[in-house]
């Protein structure tokens, strides 16, 4: 099916392409700057105004050597990978279930449940009460402390529900006629049709989990072996930025530590950017619905 392209359309496509290239440049340049700065000479980096396109001075991997001196960094990587996978599994499953329940029109009180959930988005007891709950459950210093208290996020549930609601009711009805039970409908029909949204949510969970450090600060008071990557990186970052007294400026190691802030971005960002290609295939138009007719 060839669609004739009008001249207007061609102009639009050219402009659009140019725009996309510009946008891509605006987005990639800062990351490039960070990458190059991390291998440049630190003194020159501080002096330099503007974006760094090419390494200043002698390129060196000092920042990375400094970061990798943390033997525990690798523990952090492993922990984070575990947390990401576990959280995606737990939250993903629960979110699908919640989204499904909330989208069933037969469920008389679904709006009540929705309100119940949304209310928790708006009102929040704060750091100390949540900490007390987690502590009293005996979860402190466990892996569970980083997985269970954030097992459900209202935002994802809402997205899931919205997406599932778009599946035509006729599908469910015909399945019921064929004798399918609730769970069959959920897993055999709804889930496959919501793959795009599920992929999005899993991506969001993964990214959020990858970047997360605050719960570790709260819930892992002494279990440093369970720290996620960002906790270690943050420690490096903070100590490189905080000069608490003249004692910390004893030598120019301080200088190299300021490069650490660039290095930590590279170390923590590249892996997560690599996940994207795997999730990307779900975003290509037309892969899903196909020829589902009522």
């Amino acid at each position: 099916m060839v669609i004739k392209r009008s001249p207007g359309r061609i102009v639009f496509e050219i402009l659009n392409t140019v725009l996309m290239i510009l946008l891509a440049l605006i987005c990639v340049i800062p990351l490039w700057h960070v990458l190059i700065a991390s291998i440049s000479d630190p003194g020159l980096v501080e002096l330099h105004d503007g974006i760094i396109f090419w390494p200043l001075g002698e390129p060196s991997l000092y920042a990375y050597k400094f970061i990798l001196r943390y033997k525990n960094l690798w523990t952090g990587y492993l922990n984070t990978i575990f947390y990401v996978i576990a959280q995606c599994a737990i939250t993903g499953t629960l979110t699908v279930i919640a989204g499904y329940i909330l989208s069933r029109k037969r469920f008389r009180y679904r709006n009540v449940l929705m309100g119940f959930i949304v209310f928790t988005m708006m009102f929040n007891g704060g750091m100390i009460p949540t900490y007390m709950v987690v502590r009293n459950l005996g979860l402190l210093d466990t892996y569970g402390a980083l997985l269970i208290p954030m097992a459900l996020m209202p935002f994802y549930i809402i997205i899931m529900r919205t997406s599932i609601s778009r599946i035509p009711d006729s599908l469910e009805e015909s399945a019921r006629l064929d004798g399918a039970g609730e769970l069959t409908i959920l897993f055999r029909i709804v889930v496959p049709l919501s793959k795009a949204t599920l992929a999005v949510i899993i991506l969001f969970i993964a990214v959020a989990k990858w970047n997360e450090w605050f719960p570790a600060l709260l819930y892992l008071p002494t279990a440093r072996t369970k720290y996620p990557l960002q906790m270690f990186l943050r420690q490096i970052l903070i100590t490189s930025e905080n000069i608490t007294s003249a004692a910390d400026v004893v030598d120019n190691s301080q200088l190299y530590k300021t490069l650490a802030k660039y290095g930590t971005i590279v170390v923590s960002t590249l892996p997560i950017l690599c996940i994207y290609p795997f999730v990307q295939k779900y975003f290509v138009t037309g892969v899903m619905i196909g020829s589902i007719k009522g």
Partner: protein, 321 residues
């Protein structure tokens, strides 16, 4: 107990609190599995959200961590009073509302526009590359981004010079002027989030039934009409839901970015509730006070959310509840 209405199943039609237990039981009968699936979810919310919510009581206390929530001194509305009668209350509220509104008007639509435009790109490889690159700003830490912004807007910075060239004036420190603060904040906000924020819309677009497009083509509709009459209406539910949610976070302008960008020179437009409370809190670790302020924010945000939800119920098919 004279029933004038003798329709076949009167009890099913009754609603309201008195009939609730019965209706619940009936619904349960019909949807057993759903209710069973509900249970873990509800329990989780009770334990991890509603139980800690009891901590909101701190807003009414002179909270001391050592004494705990139930042992701290009760001071009634004193924390709120302190908040409302502060000399800068109106200013911080105004700034918070302004930034929230600007975010809504400018930052919110950008990911949608970007998703729609990206959808028009046919070359798959190019599309994927652009997509991936567009996420990158989201991952760069705020500290670095604000460092870059400060660098660019200094009196000899790249952007300052650009602005001077366009407006014909002399280059000056843009970020030091309260008139420019909001613009800088919003523009950098857009830059940071348009890529990552478009993911949801791209997924929604991907979920549109291809058959609709095919039918449209048969009817002779060009790409533009397809977009306007199919794509946009189909992703509208997603847009509306996200819009309602956005209204529910309107006043939640976070302190992190502003703290890195603002300065006494720009307090006039940049000092928002969260940054002001941060400065106050820094000196006294006053949890009761900051909880009270948070509670105030929650009330306003909830009102906005309900309002938005009500409007969307009235004028569209989608709503949160």
């Amino acid at each position: 107990m004279s029933q004038t209405n003798t329709s076949p199943k009167p009890r099913l039609r009754e609603s309201g609190l008195r009939a609730f237990p019965h209706n619940l039981a009936q619904d349960f009968q019909r949807n057993k599995v759903i209710y069973l699936l509900c249970i873990p979810i509800v329990i989780w919310y009770i334990i991890f959200c509603y139980l800690p919510m009891g901590g909101l009581v701190m807003s009414f206390e002179q909270f001391s961590p050592a004494k705990g929530i139930f042992g701290s001194k009760w001071v009634g509305l004193k924390n709120f009073e302190q908040f409302f009668t502060g000399p800068f209350f109106f200013r911080t509220l105004r700034n918070t509302a302004m930034i929230g509104l600007l975010e809504l008007l400018f930052s919110f639509p950008m990911p949608i526009l970007f998703a729609l435009l990206l959808n028009e790109v046919h070359h798959i490889r190019f599309k994927k590359v652009v997509q991936t690159i567009s996420y990158m700003p989201y991952f760069i830490s705020m500290v670095v981004i604000c460092g870059i912004i400060k660098d660019f807007t200094e009196s000899n910075g790249v952007i300052s010079n650009l602005v001077a060239a366009i407006s014909g004036g002399k280059a000056y420190n843009l970020l030091g002027n309260s008139a420019n603060f909001r613009a800088i904040y919003i523009i950098s906000s857009i830059w940071q989030t348009f890529g990552y924020g478009s993911i949801i819309y791209l997924a929604a677009i991907a979920g549109v039934d291809q058959a609709l497009y095919e039918a449209a083509v048969v009817d002779g509709a060009g790409r533009w009409r397809q977009t306007v009459h199919i794509t946009i209406p189909e992703i509208m539910p997603t847009v509306i839901i996200l819009l309602i949610l956005k209204m529910g976070t309107l006043l939640a302008v976070g302190a992190e970015k502003i703290l890195l960008l603002y300065s006494p020179a720009t307090y006039e437009t940049a000092d928002v509730i969260s940054t002001y409370v941060y400065r106050e809190g820094l000196q006294n670790f006053n949890y009761g006070y900051s909880t009270a302020v948070g509670l105030f924010n929650s009330f306003i945000n909830t009102a906005l959310l309900l309002g938005a939800n009500f409007l969307s119920r009235k004028y569209s098919e989608t709503s949160l509840f």
